[in-house]
């Protein structure tokens, strides 16, 4: 059988029998109903079973938010209006599956019409309908299978509802037909440390229970593996040396954190510092801005834990997919292109000045080498005013994130006024290819091996070499071991990632000389497409 390939989004190799997320059941041909009363009972019992199943899963869920989502879904299935609509349809002559389909269809229309947030909830309605119909037809509940033995989970795409209670002890690897490096599947896989391949065309045609081997690094899926195994965590010897190439060219290996809770994982992975300290966590779900004192406490915890090491803290990155209630940003026609990141300071300069003052206070006497950077910078003027604000706050090191092509193209100018650059590859991909990060259908455009993206990174790296100032990557691309030598060759001087990815990247870098890194970088940028670029480096 031919082998398949997609985009590897979480390294590691595993093999096992392939099992699919049970597909949504097709509606059977309409059946005549002789006893409407009994049919209504049958339909209600199916809905009740769906509610009970969701509640059981909510009880088992270890995360509070997951449990809450499942309980909200249960409440949607346990709805009197819905039951009334089902009863009406049955009394008009429909059988139970068709009555349920029609009843959900009414709400589906209302949700779609309302648009926005509600239109996105249509998928929940469809899921509930599919579950109820599956019960009626005696089919397995759609969703993650629970066969009682280890297996490779395959799906078109994974929805949060599918994976809410996914057990990483039983699931060996994930493969999806669609999705991209920033899709839910990819994020979930990295969180669980499971080898994962997304955008793998043809995987849905592979027969159920086929033994497959999944390489989450290369993106290759081999059919007909001979044994069941999982090599996550045992494929790399434990390395702790600072990041460097085979011949000693240094590439700092740093960790991304959101709060002091992530620091132990960073330490365990021998991170040389923190390359991205996200500060959004403190602001999320807030209707009022956190006070300066509250910010000082949160920042100081992290700085003190990292005494003697570098901490790159990013100022508030809000807007687009991270709306913050207290900013009252409702109604932007296209939030990804709207007032987000540093742009918030245009409307609310005091949010930034308060944050910088809090960072400065927390940094004082903490012992950490604190650098500050701003998200979503596009022009020299923005970089200049941010650097001025940082220095005025008494902080010595100001940098900017490179997330839009305009900033990458002018990297040399920017380095004239700031002390360092940090490339956010998720957003830089999104804006370079005009492809929404959340859009699974455009996954191949968001592949970090796209030569155009690598070329923009190269412009930044070149500017760094010319000025002697550091240029880091702190997006998901930094976590790809195969890409690490290419990024080093492009002139990137630090890579920052989730702590789990550090050992793989460290080992990969150590396999190449710096000259080889530069040659691979040239070849990757010159490649006609992402797949070729990846193949050149991996061969």
């Amino acid at each position: 059988m031919p082998d398949l390939s997609g985009i590897g989004v979480c390294p590691g190799v595993a093999a096992g029998p392939l099992l699919r997320i049970a597909a949504a059941p097709a509606l059977p041909a309409p059946a005549p109903v002789t006893d409407a009363g009994a049919e209504v009972e049958r339909a209600f019992a199916a809905l009740a079973e769906v509610v009970a199943d969701l509640e059981r899963r909510a009880d088992r869920a270890t995360e509070a938010t997951v449990a809450e989502v499942l309980r909200a879904e249960a409440l949607m299935a346990d709805d009197e209006e819905l039951r009334d609509a089902v009863r009406e349809r049955i009394e008009e002559g429909a059988d139970a599956p068709h009555a349920i389909d029609a009843a959900f269809g009414t709400f589906r229309e209302m949700f779609t019409e309302a648009g926005g947030y509600l239109a996105e909830r249509v998928a929940d309605l469809d899921d509930l309908r599919d579950r109820a119909v599956a019960v009626l037809l005696g089919l397995p509940m759609p969703g993650v299978p629970q066969p009682g033995h280890p297996y490779v989970l395959v799906a078109r795409d994974l929805a949060p509802a599918d994976t809410a209670d996914l057990d990483p002890a039983v699931v060996l690897a994930l493969v999806t037909e669609v999705g991209g490096p920033t899709s839910h599947t990819a994020i979930l896989a990295r969180a669980l440390g499971l080898p994962a391949v997304v955008a793998c065309r043809g995987i849905l045609d592979v027969p159920e229970r086929t033994l497959v081997q999944v390489d989450g690094g290369t993106g290759e899926v081999t059919l007909g593996a001979s044994s069941v195994f999982s090599a996550k965590g045992v494929d790399e010897p434990e390395l702790s040396h600072p990041g460097r190439t085979d011949d000693g060219h240094p590439v700092k290996l740093l960790a991304n954190v959101g709060s002091v809770k992530n620091v132990p994982a960073a330490d365990q992975a021998h991170a040389e510092g923190i390359g991205l300290f996200r500060t959004e966590l403190l602001f999320l779900d807030r209707t009022t801005e956190p006070s300066r004192d509250e910010q000082v406490v949160a920042y100081r915890e992290v700085f003190q834990a990292m005494a003697g090491r570098r901490v790159v803290i990013r100022t508030l990155d809000a807007g687009a997919d991270k709306p913050l209630p207290f900013l009252h940003q409702d109604g932007e026609p296209n939030p990804a292109l709207g007032v987000r990141g540093l742009r918030v300071a245009r409307q609310r300069p005091e949010v930034l000045t308060t944050q910088l003052a809090a960072i400065a206070e927390a940094a004082a006497d903490s012992g950490a080498d604190v650098w500050v950077m701003a998200p979503m910078v596009s022009t020299l003027a923005e970089a200049t005013s941010f650097a001025d604000a940082v220095h005025e706050a008494g902080l010595p090191r100001a940098g900017v994130m490179i997330e839009v092509p305009a900033a990458a193209l002018r990297a040399a100018d920017l380095l004239g006024v700031v002390d360092f650059l940090s490339i956010g590859t998720n957003d830089l991909s999104q804006y370079t290819f005009a492809a929404d990060r959340m859009c699974g259908e455009l996954a191949e455009l968001l592949d970090f091996w796209q030569p155009a993206l690598l070329q923009l990174i190269g412009i930044c790296g070149e500017a760094g070499r010319a000025t002697g100032k550091p240029v880091g990557v702190c997006g998901e691309a930094a976590a790809d071991p195969a890409l690490a030598p290419v990024l080093a060759g492009l002139g990137v001087s630090s890579l920052s990632m989730s702590p789990r990815a550090l050992s793989g990247v460290r080992a990969s870098l150590a396999r190449y000389s710096y000259a080889e890194c530069r040659r691979l970088a040239e070849l990757a940028v010159a490649a006609p497409d992402a797949a070729t670029a990846r193949k050149i480096v991996l061969s």
Binding site: E68, D78, D79, E80, F107, L118
Partner: protein
């Protein structure tokens, strides 16, 4: 019939968590409560799907109606709940 008009206080509107809290409270009420936006058709307040389908955002004015024993107390309680920011409860 007793009515209350109240602006939704939750930051994310009458969605997910706030809707769940409101619907659960309405289901426990001793009287049947309806909720509507403007002149649109009133829907049962204890129907999660109908309440979600209102699409009420923060600041949207909704009208609660109920009749019978305890209607006023019930409406007062539910109106107070709607006016609160139910997203912020666990912050």
């Amino acid at each position: 019939m007793p009515t209350r008009t109240v602006a939704v206080g939750s930051a994310s509107g009458l969605h997910a968590r706030p809707a769940k809290i409101f619907v659960e409270a309405a289901a426990k009420a001793p009287v049947k409560v309806t909720i509507r936006v403007g002149e649109k058709k009133p829907v049962p307040a204890k129907s999660m799907l109908s309440v979600l389908a209102l699409g009420a955002k923060q600041g949207t004015e909704v009208v609660l109606e109920a009749d019978g024993d305890g209607a006023d107390e019930t409406l007062d309680g539910l109106a107070a709940l709607l006016a609160k920011d139910l997203d912020a409860d666990d912050a």
